[in-house]
């Protein structure tokens, strides 16, 4: 363990450490706390300059319900869901297939194909933007949710493949070899033997991709034009325009937009971190 555990040091140091923890956390999350404090106070407080003091009135419920009542926030939330969930399903399903092929079969193109997925995963979005718009236009799905989902799913397949391939590569090879000797078909091996084993990887990817797509801003801006189809990330920016000077509502809306990924993170923390680091340290 490095640094040396504080339990082994003097009582004074232990106490200092335990006091320093909450202080450091407070400073670290100060911007977030401040915006939370703004979101629970009435507008009159902000106008009179009481931005950081004790709220004159606890207006949390009013503010948050006002966000839903006065704006399309609910619509934006639903739109994000409709974009996010299919993307997660499609990209992970495809990555199970490609990852399996690249991890299990030893053929000449295995490594070059793998590198193709990895490299594509890192390109800047801007170099894809115009051709993807053009392509969606030709397929007559520009400015529709399926159009955006198709792109997201294709792009995320790159990262998911990187992750899946490394995960399957770490499984014991003998398992597959012995099934083959038994005469089990290639697709049966995949379906009955490998798929049950990659469940942890699927969980990790699901949490990660959910967060990535939920937080996506660029592609939604580029691929969707109609206000009725916008996801929450783009939505709160337009709310920002609607609610000029209504900081209590803007901050409430921003915090609401962050709730689902944060909840996902806390519920699935183990998978989330495994996802971030396993895909990473192995890659």
């Amino acid at each position: 363990m490095f640094p040396a555990p504080v339990e082994k040091s003097s009582a004074g140091i232990q106490l200092t450490y335990k006091l320093a923890l909450p202080v450091a956390l407070f400073l670290w999350l100060l911007p977030l706390l401040a915006i939370f404090m703004t979101s629970i106070r009435p507008l009159s407080d902000i106008n009179t300059g009481n931005v950081f003091g004790i709220p004159s009135d606890f207006a949390m419920l009013e503010n948050y319900s006002q966000v839903f009542a006065q704006t399309d926030a609910w619509q934006y939330f639903m739109n994000t869901m409709v974009i996010t969930l299919p993307t997660v399903a499609v990209s992970i399903a495809l990555a199970c297939l490609t990852g399996y092929a690249l991890a299990v079969y030893q053929f000449r193109w295995a490594l070059p194909m793998f590198f193709l997925f990895v490299a594509g995963n890192f390109v800047p979005f801007q170099i894809l933007m115009l051709p993807v718009i053009d392509l969606s236009n030709k397929m007559e799905i520009y400015n529709t949710v399926p159009g955006l989902v198709m792109f997201h799913a294709a792009f995320q397949t790159g990262f998911c493949t990187l992750f899946m391939r490394n995960f399957i590569k770490a499984l014991p090879r003998e398992l597959i070899e012995s099934a083959r000797i038994e005469g089990v078909g290639e697709f049966r091996i995949f379906w009955h033997l490998v798929l049950p084993l990659v469940k942890p990887a699927v969980a990790a990817l699901a949490v990660l991709i959910f967060t990535f797509i939920w937080n996506d801003f660029f592609w939604a801006t580029v691929m969707l034009q109609d206000d009725a189809r916008l996801p929450i990330t783009v939505g709160i920016r337009s709310l920002n325009g609607e609610f000029v000077q209504q900081w209590h509502l803007i901050s409430a809306a921003s915090l609401l937009a962050a709730v689902p990924p944060v909840a996902m993170f806390f519920l699935m923390q183990k998978h989330f971190i495994a996802g971030l680091t396993l895909g990473a340290t192995k890659g």
């Binding site: 297939l97 490594l111 193709l116 800047p124 979005f125 051709p131 799905i141 901050s251």
Partner: protein, 395 residues
């Protein structure tokens, strides 16, 4: 004996009926996919608007595609060609859909973008579906060399790259601070990681508000040091400052730094989590050995811990570089490139030139994107090279 021999022969034979049937289904599905048309739906199923019909007709075509793929799969796996060479063809069957999808949406567009960069085009086609642009050779790139906004963006990208790197040591610092086992430490770790989970748009809004010179958090802190509140005779509260609080996002000198500082917040959290996992895997034996050799503090960190954290450092650097070059969301939410174009980065400037209001310079935008891609390519090649080395060792 005879029956097993015939069975074995059978195993490699084409199942003619199945192949023929699935081939027919495949052809019908393909015809359906390509002939299906939005206008057909509008005419026959009573959709009023052309736009309305696009989604259902997409799903109709998509279902045709799935049927076609299924039929092709059944057709091919029943031929003797596949049965005799399973191990040669099976990986390509597994790869087919994912790869095709990825090529169409990611790999091919890269080359298309590069080719757009040699044209002058506004993204439109004429009524017959013909391309309306013209080839201009290297003119877009020559124009870039004379564009002060391009230089600002490039310079800001370099600033982002350099300053964003601070996330790596800062993340390591926090990870070292948190790598303890006192009660409740797990909750502290996840709360420290918090900023990474929040959307960059929300982070941008939070910081735009923090920087607000009238009532933001920063002005509050500023007021604590430089301002004095007095109540005048009328009983009104007035604030006088020796130095006025800076308007960070409104001042071309500071705006980019303000955005980078906001961007560092989630990025430090990301690096921290990478290092925390790395520290978990540091071998305790080596630490003990180091302690016996009287290595302590910095010496221990530098000679024993950091070498073992190399994989974590590598990933932290890679994700930070990519994050820096992809810095779009923050710029878009906090300043939209302003004031006076001073916070443009290549990613945002490209967007602005290509699809910004009333601009539509596809060719010029693509040239900017190509430059950005070229910069990224250096890192991508390095990353792939490192991966290749690892793979060679692994096998």
């Amino acid at each position: 004996m005879a029956s097993t021999a015939s069975l074995r022969a059978n195993r490699y034979q084409t199942a003619s009926t199945t192949v023929a049937l699935s081939a027919i289904v495949l052809i019908i599905a393909l015809i359906g996919m390509f002939t299906f048309d939005v206008s057909w739906m509008v005419d026959n199923l009573g959709f009023t608007k052309r736009v309305d019909a696009r989604v259902p007709s997409f799903f109709a075509r998509f279902s045709c595609l799935i049927i076609a793929l299924g039929a092709a799969f059944i057709c091919f796996t029943n031929t003797s060609l596949y049965k005799r060479n399973k191990l040669t063809y099976a990986p390509w069957i597994f790869l087919f859909i994912g790869t095709a999808f990825f090529l169409i949406y990611v790999i091919i567009p890269i080359f298309q973008s590069i080719s757009y960069s040699f044209t002058k085009w506004d993204g439109l086609y004429d009524i017959n579906g013909f391309w309306t642009g013209e080839w201009v050779g290297l003119r877009n790139y020559v124009q870039l060399l004379d564009d002060p906004n391009f230089y600002t963006s490039l310079w800001n990208n370099i600033l982002w790259l350099v300053l964003y790197m601070l996330a790596v040591p800062a993340g390591l610092g926090i990870a070292l601070f948190l790598n303890q086992t006192v009660g409740g430490i797990r909750i502290y770790k996840s709360l420290f990681f918090f900023p990474f989970v929040i959307s960059q748009v929300v982070v941008g809004l939070i910081f735009a508000w923090t920087y607000n010179p009238e009532f933001g958090l920063l002005s509050e802190v500023w007021g604590f040091f430089f301002c004095e509140q007095t109540t005048n005779i009328m009983g009104n509260l007035t604030t006088t400052c020796t130095v006025d609080p800076p308007s960070i996002l409104g001042d071309p000198k500071y705006a980019t730094y303000g955005i980078i500082a906001a961007g560092l917040w989630p990025q430090i959290a990301y690096c921290m989590i990478l290092y925390l996992t790395g520290l978990n895997n540091v071998s305790p034996d080596q630490i003990e050995a180091g302690r016996l050799d009287n290595a302590k503090g910095w010496k221990m960190l530098w000679h024993i811990i950091l070498p073992q954290l190399k994989p974590a450092t590598f990933i932290a650097v890679v994700v930070t570089v990519i994050g820096a070059l992809r810095s779009f969301d923050m710029v878009a939410t906090m300043t939209q490139g302003g004031p006076f174009g001073s916070t443009n980065v290549l990613a945002y400037y490209m967007f602005d030139q290509a699809v910004g209001e009333g601009v539509g310079r596809y060719g010029y935008g693509s040239a900017i994107a190509t430059v950005l891609f070229a910069i990224m390519l250096i890192y991508i090649s390095y990353f792939l090279w490192r991966m290749y080395q690892d793979e060679k060792e692994g096998n």
